[in-house]
């Protein structure tokens, strides 16, 4: 087997290679019709520098994710979007390998948890009282998201005082 240090470096390189060409930093993208899940997550993540973006449809959500391909999506499952969500999860590994999807749902759809996990959702929440663990998933994902590597000169430049132009 390869040297673990080499393996880790290769992994980091793979993630840099896949996050390229002007992609934005990872974001937390919430997709729901109302706003209660986003409100709950903002409350859980209050005071932390977590960029949260809200969308109202799976189409616009995936478009936003395309611009931030290492993001974490929190999707509200409804009986209306089950099949579309399953389809999008099926293509996630292929199209957006750095992204992750968590599913939130009314408890009446709690029975879908294991199907959603099997389809590729990293986490499933069936109650607003379970937002704590979901916020933890978000923190871990965004902490692990790759960042573009900066050169020494870029690092010095970015540390100059009094702001840029």
């Amino acid at each position: 087997m390869d040297d673990p240090a080499v393996t880790k470096e290769a992994d980091a390189l793979a993630r840099r290679v896949l996050l390229s060409d002007g992609a934005e930093a990872a974001r937390l993208i919430v997709c729901e019709h109302g706003g209660r899940w986003a409100v709950g997550l903002r409350r859980e993540l209050a005071g932390e520098d977590v960029p949260i973006c809200e969308t109202r449809s799976l189409a616009s959500c995936w478009e936003t994710l395309g611009a931030s391909p290492a993001g974490l999506v929190v999707v509200e499952l409804t009986t209306a979007n089950v099949d579309e969500l399953l389809g999008r999860l099926a293509g996630l590994d292929r199209d957006l390998p750095l992204a992750r999807v968590a599913v939130v749902a009314d408890r009446r759809l709690a029975g879908y948890e294991w199907l959603m996990r099997e389809a590729g959702a990293v986490h499933f929440v069936g109650s607003p009282r379970q937002l704590g663990p979901l916020a933890e998933v978000a923190r871990r994902h965004l902490d692990q998201a790759p960042a573009r590597r900066r050169s020494v000169t870029e690092q010095i430049w970015s540390s100059l005082p009094w702001g840029g132009r």
Binding site: M1, D2, P4, T7, K8, A10, D11, L13, A14, V17, L18, S20, D21, T78, T79, A80, V82, D83, L86, D93, R94, D95, P97, R100, A105, D106, R107, R108, L109, A110, G111, Y112, W114, L115, R117, E118, A119, G120, V122, H123, P133, E136, V137, R140, H141, Q144, S151, V152, T153, I156, W157, L160, P161, W162, G163, G164
Partner: protein, 462 residues
Amino acid sequence: MARQRINATDLAKMLNATSQPVYVLDDEMFVVFYNRACHKWLGPAAAGLLDRQCRYHSAQEVTGPDAVAAGLCPPPEVMECQKVTATVSRSSDEQPVRRRATFVPLGTSAEDLIGIVAILDPVDLDSGTRADLDVETVSPGEEDPAGLHERVRRFHDEAAGRYRVDRLIGDSPAMRRARAQIELAAGSRASVLLVGPPGCGRQHAAAAIHYAAHGKSGGSLIPLDCAALGADAIRSKVRALAGGDVLGEHSARSTLVLSHADQLPADVQGELWVVLFGKRFPLRVIATAEQPLHELAQGGEYRADLAASLATITIELPPLTQRREDLPLLAQLFLEEANSRSAGQHGGFSAEALDLLDAYGWPGNVDELAQAIAAAHRAAAGPQIGAEDLPQRIHLAAAAAKVPPRVEETIVLDEFLGQIERELIGRALRRAKGNKAKAARLLGMTRPRLYRRLVQLGFEKD
């Protein structure tokens, strides 16, 4: 006053007299009664229904009274003593026939629940004879057991085909060995550790083992991402699966996949070992990792007992660079998959494109190859994928390979210092709103010196 006596026969007569189908379950969801109207609705399928247990089934081979009972299964909230309206179904020759049902729990809490009474509407949902029973009037978010069963069945059908062992493509010795090991693992219930770099196909191999063992009629494949989930989330899900209630009798044919098991938080490793291996855990366990867990254990970074228990069988999946002979075959497979998903059709690759693919380092392995081919498919206009259709990074890597790599970043010091000085003076002037005395103070220099530097750097004329 004489005590009122409840006559079971009279009660049955009352229930048989109504045109609404009614059935009764005990606290373990066994059917203990169904009335004449229910028998009429179910038809011949009602034979043998008494004493059947209502459990969700997604397996295709479940037929007869078990399948009938599955269609009558109440939502889980009823077991918590909540009155719920949901849909139930019965199979027909063409498609399931559904009715709305009101489930009335007999009890005041989940602990003293003694049974459930199900009262069905007198008309089918799909008959269209009563507008207020039209499916659109069902509240959004209302659980639909029949819909979930069907979706699970379709999902497993498709997944069983996608994750066949023979779809782990490759004629290289490493892949032939891996396929043989996967088929061996499918024939046992031993825990399996799949080791390999990111993108080499660990998840696919785990699914291949599961579906080779159980086919499409098996249970569920439950992934838990140990890197993404915190200790609490992992702990709660594994405990829920250990209880056996989550998946019911499907547990024995289901598989738990601990992805990135090498990143399992230390504070949950001990409990996980006890739950998964200290007691009888109902699911088969497969783990994936980037390096063998026993190596981490030797370095004191992992519990040795858990490392050993997760790796009864260890299967190593090679990086793509160790199986370059498989590249053309894999590329063609991914191209054909891309063709099947889109209107654009491309037959193959130009020789130059294949050369570039072969020269690239593939740090993301097979997953990265799949993404690159998908991107090339979108970009290509001709019948073949040409070199110009491949992603830029593959071209850059080929170009970089022709020049010696620069080991260290070099800085031309005088030039860089000059740039910094110009930038800082400019920022200080803007911050001071053009006031040179103030700017000089910000920069820690005298005003005359600032004036001299402004002239020397070309900010001002002498």
